[in-house]
């Protein structure tokens, strides 16, 4: 492989990482909003949140990406920049999985903690922010770590719409060199290294957060 082709792969890696960061942020926001709504007092909020998770977990991520890229512009006249379209499709889909993680972790907090918050006269928002989340968040980390790896793998799907991410640049290199085995092996290796670093980083984060709760 020539230096130019490696540069292409490097650019693809940067785009993939960028997409990963943006969609991870959106995933997190969706997960916490929808997950908290599933434990809300109002029945309507719970129902809407449940509908959201059922629908977005039911649709395939790839179908969702096609929908955002091809249906939104034609049907609604919203043409998004590829990076934002990819972020939207991935964030909405993986956010639905994240919502289940948040819901599970909130449900796993000892009910006495919630009652303690009520006894102290905390508002629901204060209860969530000061009592429930600090205990629930460290429990969420291992599941979110898995979800992050799934999201990383999901970013490769966006390459089908022609976004210049790692999987896409790998295809270009393959076409340039007319040899496939080596190129795809390199790609898999790069994805694996990113995933490895992500899971290690999340493990460190988990240890820190748990130490804080123990204090």
């Amino acid at each position: 492989m020539t230096a130019g082709l490696w540069e292409l792969v490097l650019q693809g890696t940067t785009t993939t990482l960028q997409l990963l960061v943006y969609s991870a942020l959106l995933t997190l926001v969706v997960a916490f909003v929808v997950g908290a709504a599933r434990t809300h007092r109002s029945r309507l909020a719970r129902f809407l949140a449940a509908c959201y998770t059922e629908v977005f977990r039911g649709i395939s991520a790839l179908v969702m990406i096609f929908w955002v890229f091809f249906v939104l512009p034609v049907a609604f006249g919203w043409q998004l920049v590829p990076m934002w379209a990819g972020t939207l499709a991935l964030g909405l889909t993986y956010g639905a999985y994240g919502a289940e993680i948040v819901r599970g972790a909130l449900a796993a907090v000892d009910p006495a903690q919630r009652e303690g918050g009520i006894a102290l006269g905390f508002s629901p928002w204060q209860r969530l922010r000061l009592v429930l989340l600090p205990q629930a968040v460290p429990e969420m980390i291992p599941s979110f770590s898995n979800l992050l790896v799934e999201l990383l793998k999901g970013t490769a799907l966006v390459s089908i719409t022609g976004m210049g991410d790692l999987a896409f640049s790998g295809n270009l290199v393959r076409l340039a060199l007319q040899q496939s085995g080596r190129i795809y092996a390199y790609l898999l290796l790069i994805y694996f290294v990113i995933a490895f670093l992500l899971t290690r980083g999340m493990r460190v984060l988990e240890r820190r957060l748990k130490a804080e709760v123990a204090r």
Binding site: G58, S60, L62, F66, A75, K153, I160, L188, F196
Partner: protein, 216 residues
Amino acid sequence: MSWDWGAVADFLPYFVSGLVVTLEALALGSLISFALGLVWTLLLRTPTRWVRWPVGVLTEFVRDTPLLVQLFFLFYVLPEAGLTLSPLTTGVIGLGLHYSTYTMQVYRAGIEAVPPGQWEAATALSLPVRRTWAAVILPQAVRRVVPPLGNYVIAMLKDTPMLMTIGVLEMLGRARLVSQQHFQFTEPLTVIGIAFVVVSYLASLCLRTLERRLVR
């Protein structure tokens, strides 16, 4: 937003045959992942470290890298190695291999969840290893294994559209052909989106029923 019901009626039969391809890939991919996952689990339980170590690294690698790139890898590398398979066969192998690294963990958890007393009792009765597995361990493990395996089948269903990229005409592949020919994106893509929600919702309902029966 305009919606053309006539177009929906026109391409619906075409999508239904795409759904058949999707379900075919799902069934075969699931079978491969169930079998291969069991093989990995058993290999990881062997006493030899020279077997466990490579299997552990390989499965972790497969689990943490994108299925899409794995499909490309198989699709372009197998012919280079002198093995030319149809797109559907390649796709099924890819799905099965990828998901076997997930089912493997399910089996492991299922086997580990059988109380150690059961192993000890089998030893006390001096049951041979084979009978211990067949009569004591597996019947108890299966009950715990079925629900999570079902979850992975549903997850696999949602990954089948990726087979489009190597030329399998499943639902999304057909939707793409139709939308390019007629320059109509809204109807085909929305219809298959709904189809996926319906199929995976039905599948999860079936799974919940099955779960309740098994736990009882």
